[in-house]
């Protein structure tokens, strides 16, 4: 699968990654090479094989419904780039 510059721009937008215009081509070529490696998977027929998401066949453990967390807003917001009145601030979102 050859990845074109417009594919790179599309994926970069999906992933909200700002990339430099002059880098688009080189990303396209890197990604094309990587996808070439990935496509070696097609050497094997996997018809009827159940996809495997986890290495161990375990099931989800359930947590009792107990409130165990206290308010730690101050500590948790120490890393926040912009806060006011306990809110995280972002550029205005228009709906």
């Amino acid at each position: 699968m050859s990845i074109q510059s417009e594919d790179v721009l599309k994926i970069a937008h999906l992933a909200r990654l700002g990339i430099q215009d002059e880098q688009v081509e080189s990303y396209a070529s890197d990604l094309t090479n990587i996808m070439g490696l990935v496509e070696q998977m097609n050497q094997v027929d996997t018809t009827g094989i159940e996809p495997m998401a986890h290495p161990l066949d375990q099931v989800q453990r359930l947590r009792p419904d107990v409130v165990s967390e206290k308010n730690q807003r101050e500590a948790l917001q120490k890393n926040a780039p912009d806060i006011q009145d306990g809110l995280f601030l972002v550029p205005r979102v228009i709906e």
Binding site: I11, L17, G18, L37, P51, R63, N79
Partner: protein
């Protein structure tokens, strides 16, 4: 002092030949002296370390000490440490101080270990050479022109240069074993689910697993023992008792069957490396092990499958770095999209961006079945290959990496060739098996690693085989030139 085993250090502490404060200061001094050229440590924890060492000394005095009490160590900068920066090797987290401590780190803290600092790593653990770090590449102490491997290259280089007796690492596709091999030390990645992932910044959640670097299998066993165990905060943590990893270190390996996958011994393997690995296998044979050729028919698809699964998971795992609640935020964003794109564009390096893009691509509409689902199916085939093999053998052995440490810059601009440096290690992560690397000789004065793979939850047997090998050889005791001196 720097080359003493954990047991010897522990006895010295118990006998008060040395205090933990002195021992910690000793290694802090080594870091300060040597790390300028190696660049293995991102953040030093000097003051807090000495306080912790003081406490350890008190505990030793009052007889409340275990094997790790007062022992200094380093943590890969992927583990969150409350109050001390956790950067994950990224500009994105250059200013991030976690308000909690990773479970694995707390458990070591509970056991009395003293954290000296945080080690350098490939950005978000994505890399095999440690060249993608925001804090600059790490140099391999055996040859400063070569890379230490990655992504846990800082931890491996630090232990190799004897800057600390122990260091933690994480392994998603070989990130403990490959740097251990390149740096001539011992590294172990346990079974998936054995060490809690809570507080360990996720790269690829279904593959990531924390583990240990040490000079020897015995030391690694002590550290892994303390890190392991069930954690209710991690849904993928396995609720089953941890074996006593030291208990079986003395066991004979007579009658044990060691499998050699023929797919790992093809012409692609460097001849000199093959010789070293075969010599190591011979040593195990001389100790009574049976050697058997086995086949892992789909193992050659592990790198392709991995480069779908890992990027897909990372593309979502790294979405939280958006400049809103923590981490890098661009200057004066003009709107929301600008905030996202510039914060992430500036905060992440090229390799991280490549992997996020691959992940977004393979999951995007129309491609899921061809790539993601296919990779998950291949993943099952690979796991079944291993399951089949472990019906016949107890341990699988191979080279850890297809080459010795390569030169800095050599593969930096060729992602695919970089990815292929993990061809022997990646299958183990896809299957979730425990694996380790032990030094087994030198090629061109650079260390070679022997990879040992065990069946699920058989860390004890794995460590025993490595330990028995280290009783017969002394490759693991070799110290890189220039770092044997006291400072």
């Amino acid at each position: 002092m720097y080359n003493k085993s954990l047991k010897e250090l522990s006895i010295s502490l118990q006998n008060r030949d040395i205090s933990s404060v002195e021992l910690s200061q000793y290694f802090l001094d080594r870091i300060k002296h040597f790390d300028g050229e190696i660049n293995s440590v991102i953040t030093l924890n000097e003051d807090a370390a000495l306080l912790a060492a003081e406490q350890a000394d008190k505990n030793i005095q009052s007889g409340k000490a275990g094997l790790l009490t007062g022992i200094p160590l380093l943590h890969k900068d992927i583990f969150c440490t409350q109050g001390l920066r956790t950067s994950c090797g990224s500009k994105m987290l250059d200013n991030f101080i976690a308000p909690y401590t990773a479970t694995a780190v707390s458990q070591l803290e509970q056991a009395g270990a003293v954290m000296l600092g945080k080690t350098n790593m490939d950005e978000f653990a994505m890399g095999s050479s440690n060249e993608t770090s925001f804090y600059g590449g790490v140099k391999n102490p055996w040859d400063l022109n070569t890379v230490p491997g990655g992504s846990s290259g800082g931890s491996a280089a630090a232990v190799a240069a004897r800057l600390a007796p122990l260091a933690s690492g994480t392994d998603t596709g070989g990130s403990i074993r490959q740097p251990a091999a390149f740096c001539g030390i011992t590294g172990i990645k346990p079974t998936y689910g054995r060490v809690s992932r809570y507080g360990m910044i996720a790269f690829a959640s279904s593959l990531d697993q924390g583990g240990a670097f040490a000079k020897s299998a015995e030391d690694a066993a002590v550290m892994l023992q303390a890190m392991s165990g069930f954690d209710e905060k991690d849904s993928t943590s396995v609720d089953r008792p941890v074996d006593d990893l030291l208990d079986h270190l003395g066991d004979s390996i007579k009658g044990l069957t060691i499998g050699l996958p023929k797919e790992f011994f093809t012409d692609d393997l460097d001849n000199d490396i093959r010789e070293k690995v075969e010599a190591a296998v011979d040593a195990l044979k001389s100790a009574g092990a049976n050697i058997k050729e086995i086949s892992l028919p789909n193992i050659n698809l592990s790198v392709p499958a991995y480069y779908v699964v890992a990027p897909a998971e990372c593309s979502a795992n790294l979405s939280r770095f958006d400049g809103v609640r923590f981490g890098h935020r661009c200057d004066s964003p003009k709107d929301l999209e600008d905030l996202y794109k510039r914060s992430r564009g500036e905060g992440f390096g090229d390799e991280v961006k490549r992997r996020i893009m691959i992940g977004a691509y393979v999951l995007s509409a129309g491609y899921y079945d061809a790539y993601y689902k296919k990779a998950q199916q291949v993943r099952r085939l690979i796991r079944e290959d291993f399951a089949q093999a472990f019906k016949e053998v107890d341990i699988i052995a191979s080279a850890t990496a297809p080459s010795v440490a390569f030169s800095a810059g050599e593969k930096k601009d060729d992602p695919v060739s970089m990815y292929l440096s993990d061809i022997f290690t990646i299958g183990v992560n896809l299957a979730g098996l425990p694996g380790m690397s032990v030094p087994c000789g030198f090629v061109d004065k650079k260390p070679v690693g022997l990879q040992l793979i065990g069946n699920y939850f058989e860390e004890s047997r794995l460590l025993n085989v490595a330990h028995q090998y280290q009783q017969l050889t002394d490759w693991h005791l070799a110290v890189p030139a220039g770092y044997e001196k006291e400072v």
